[in-house]
């Protein structure tokens, strides 16, 4: 295989691969410390891009503010949209960035940059945040998938296109996500009833012996990849109940809310509790409200509000919040102006997102926009600043270099972009 294709992870799509450079790139001492730190992350991926006006940066009574009001929070002087009454009561646990300013204005490019941390730089494909965290902080010997994508909507226009691409990049497909949720129930995950547990174990032992022997004798990458895939499936089989929504406590399911996004956010908590390192929850591209902006946000924002509230409360009660970073964001924001279809369009110039837990200080609002929300006027944050902050919060070196002979030097976060110190613990 051509080296370029190999580096882009072309070999790895959809199948676990041992063609990973993680051993080459990682610094074992740092990685070991990070793994012992037990840090984890839940990314609530608000794909399509929510409106900052109807969430974290309300401008009530202005020409651009929209029809919803603002409410005070338990942090004096900080208001959020009236659609977020629950988060208003735990604002002291949240860090809000109101000054995101990024470049891409289209979904695919926005998703790419805000999930990988930077724009493409061929020939490398930069790994997605979940892959980096799984590789740096995950437990490779765990049967529980370290990076899980829960997304019940199989479609999603540009997000669908993105989902079909290479997520793990140069790390190799073993750090790609296990995808589940909704239409993506994992098929054939359960042992057949006619095969006893002992018989099943015997068959697997024989398969493993023969294929390992072949891999060793022939020095076969293909056999190694095959073995990695089997190991992954074996792990999935052992933790199948974790992926069954119906096994989650009914009271918890009601608390989180009935919608697919809420149910899978609860499942994310469950996976994190049981050994996953990074869980990303999405639901298609439901926030892309070019039409019916307010009619959709009246439903979507309260669901997000409740999910964030329940998740943060649950993690705190389980004494997991200080080690679990919760991120809620999309790929950009929405325009201050309404279009003729009563929608808001894409707006990367000034938008908001929120984080809580693992390494992040609560009760902080970083940055500001002008009175009408057109421009960032204080504390500009771009994708590099954001990823430096996330990595710092999780105890991962943001500036680790990747060097290969004859190829440009890469850093986990380029240009030594500064983290937002104000929101780090």
């Amino acid at each position: 295989m051509h080296r370029r294709l190999f580096l882009q992870g072309g070999m790895a799509a959809g199948v676990a691969s041992t063609g990973s450079f993680s051993g080459l790139f990682s610094v074992p001492a740092i990685a070991d410390v990070a793994k012992r730190s037990n840090k984890k992350c839940i990314l609530l991926w608000l794909c399509g891009a929510p409106s900052q006006f109807e969430t974290w940066d309300p401008k009530p009574g202005t020409e651009t503010g929209g029809p919803f009001g603002a409410i005070s929070t338990n942090v004096p002087g900080t208001n959020v949209s009236s659609l977020m009454p629950r988060c208003a009561t735990i604002m002291d646990k949240l860090a809000v960035i109101r000054s995101m300013k990024t470049q891409p204005g289209e979904h695919f490019q926005g998703i790419d940059v805000l999930t990988r941390g930077d724009k493409p730089r061929p020939p490398f494909t930069r790994p997605i945040l979940g892959s980096v965290i799984a590789e740096q902080l995950g437990q490779l010997d765990s049967p529980v998938p370290q990076f899980v994508l829960l997304d019940p909507c199989p479609e999603g226009n540009e997000f669908k296109q993105f989902k079909a691409g290479n997520w793990a990049g140069w790390l190799g497909a073993e750090y790609g996500p296990v995808r589940a949720g909704g239409d993506y129930s994992i098929p054939n995950i359960n042992r057949l009833e006619e095969v006893s547990e002992v018989d099943h174990a015997d068959r697997e032992a024989l398969r493993q012996f023969l294929s390992q022997k072949y891999e060793n004798d022939q020095r076969s990458d293909a056999a190694a990849s095959h073995n990695a895939a089997f190991n992954r499936v074996k792990g999935l089989m052992s933790c199948a109940p974790l992926f069954d929504l119906n096994r989650l406590p009914e009271a918890d399911r009601q608390r989180y809310g009935a919608g697919a996004f809420a149910q899978h956010a609860l499942q994310a908590r469950h996976l994190i509790e049981n050994g996953s390192t990074f869980v990303m929850v999405a639901n298609g591209m439901q926030w892309d409200n070019h039409v019916f902006q307010h009619e959709m946000h009246q439903m979507l924002v309260p669901e997000l509000d409740n999910v964030l509230y329940q998740l943060i409360q649950d993690l705190e009660q389980r004494e997991m919040l200080q080690d679990t970073l919760v991120i809620a964001m999309g790929e950009f924001g929405r325009t201050p102006w309404l279009n003729e279809a009563r929608g808001r369009d894409h707006y990367p110039n000034a938008w908001s997102m929120a984080m809580a837990g693992g390494g992040i200080a609560g009760g902080v609002v970083h940055g500001a926009t002008d009175d009408l929300g057109f421009e960032v006027i204080d504390g500009k944050v771009d994708n590099r600043n954001l990823f430096a902050t996330i990595f710092k919060a999780l105890g991962v070196d943001p500036y680790q270099e990747y060097d290969l002979p004859g190829l440009p030097t890469f850093r986990r976060v380029e240009e030594k972009a500064e983290p937002i110190l104000e929101i780090l613990v």
Partner: protein
């Protein structure tokens, strides 16, 4: 731009720009003034001079306006408030919190004795985002004179359109899921209900949730038919490209029946959010947004359902009314909001137009 069909000629005789998007408008009895509900407040527009004046503000967008008497304007808003304003005294005479959530739509009975206002927040009630049951009564009937609450009636949120029958006795309310309920306002009894799936989308492409529903409804002058308007189902509701759709239902028989709907070849794409019925039952108007096709407001022959005139207004039509003894037509709406200020202010993006036919 005016596009004239063969049967009725529409001629624009007046046009006005207003500072913010217009969501509702109603002409005074003498036809000299129009009260206008905008995103930023309630305005009084003098049709002769073109001058307008801010009368009153709500805490949010103004969704409906009506003349409750010769000198009294009543408005409802997304703040859930219904407000009475004395135009002569330039004074708010009553301000009443009727809903916790928006007033999506308000109707005044023809005898001017009752007001009906509908509300309801769409919240996720099921895995596929079926709407939750109502958090408050979705339909409130008030005394138009005193504001006293007469009826609180149930429905399934969000209830987006309301109409009162010509005899001022029945109230019809339509929701996101295409469910229509008709109540007898005299006793609060549910007279009939039915659901049409033709106005509601469940997102397949971008989102697994519901969108659309019934956005306008009007009784026929005889009262036995109910017109509904909205947009046909879409695979991607975010595209807003559903069929421009009206339906006419007979509701008085044993079971409600669909009598007619937008004829094949006569509709483009876009949300239709307003209906107006001519008093002599000759025709009705449906208007809204143009997403695809060649019109966004059109007249339809009441008997045959055929389109008899059409307009491409260049803005989203949000309200319409026949006035001036039925010889004039008022259209109101909103253009896209300007993207930046010019000389310290945004350009006007509200619109009122008067047509003769």
């Amino acid at each position: 731009m005016l596009d004239v069909m063969e049967k009725i000629e529409l001629k624009r005789i007046k046009e006005f720009d207003l500072p913010s998007g217009v969501l509702a408008a109603a002409a005074s009895a003498d036809g000299g003034q129009v009260v206008v509900g905008c995103m930023q407040g309630v305005y009084l527009l003098d049709l002769a001079s073109g001058q307008y004046e801010l009368l009153n503000r709500h805490e949010s967008y103004v969704s409906s306006v009506a003349w409750c008497g010769d000198h009294t304007v009543v408005s409802a808003g997304y703040d859930g408030v219904v407000c009475w304003f004395d135009v002569e005294k330039r004074l708010v005479t009553r301000r009443q919190q009727v809903h916790k959530f928006w007033s999506w739509d308000m109707a005044l009975s023809p005898d001017r004795t009752r007001l009906a206002s509908v509300t309801g927040q769409y919240l996720a009630g099921g895995y596929k985002y079926e709407p939750q049951i109502e958090q408050e009564p979705s339909l409130r009937v008030l005394s138009a004179e005193t504001g006293d609450l007469i009826r609180s009636l149930p429905h399934v949120p969000s209830v987006q359109a309301v109409a009162i029958s010509p005899d001022s006795r029945f109230v019809a309310a339509g929701n996101l899921m295409g469910e229509v309920r008709i109540y007898d306002m005299d006793n609060g009894e549910l007279v009939t209900k039915w659901t049409t799936a033709d106005f509601t989308s469940w997102g397949i492409i971008k989102s697994h949730s519901y969108l659309g529903g019934i956005f306008s409804m009007r009784f026929s002058p005889s009262g036995d038919h109910l017109l509904l308007a909205g947009m046909g189902p879409m695979r991607d509701p975010m595209a807003g490209n559903g069929k421009q759709l009206w339906q006419r239902w007979g509701w008085m028989g044993e079971s409600p029946s669909l009598l007619d709907q937008t004829h094949a070849g006569e509709a483009g794409e876009g949300l239709m959010e307003v209906l107006a019925v001519h008093a002599d039952a000759s025709h009705f108007l449906m208007g809204g947004r143009l997403r695809g096709g060649d019109w966004n407001a059109a007249l339809f022959d009441h008997a045959s359902g055929n389109r008899v005139a059409s307009l491409k207004t260049g803005y989203r039509v949000t309200d319409a009314e026949y006035f001036g003894d039925g010889k004039q037509l008022l259209l109101a709406g909103a253009k896209g909001q300007p993207k930046k200020k010019k000389d310290g202010k945004f350009n006007d993006f509200g619109r009122v137009e008067i047509y003769e036919f």
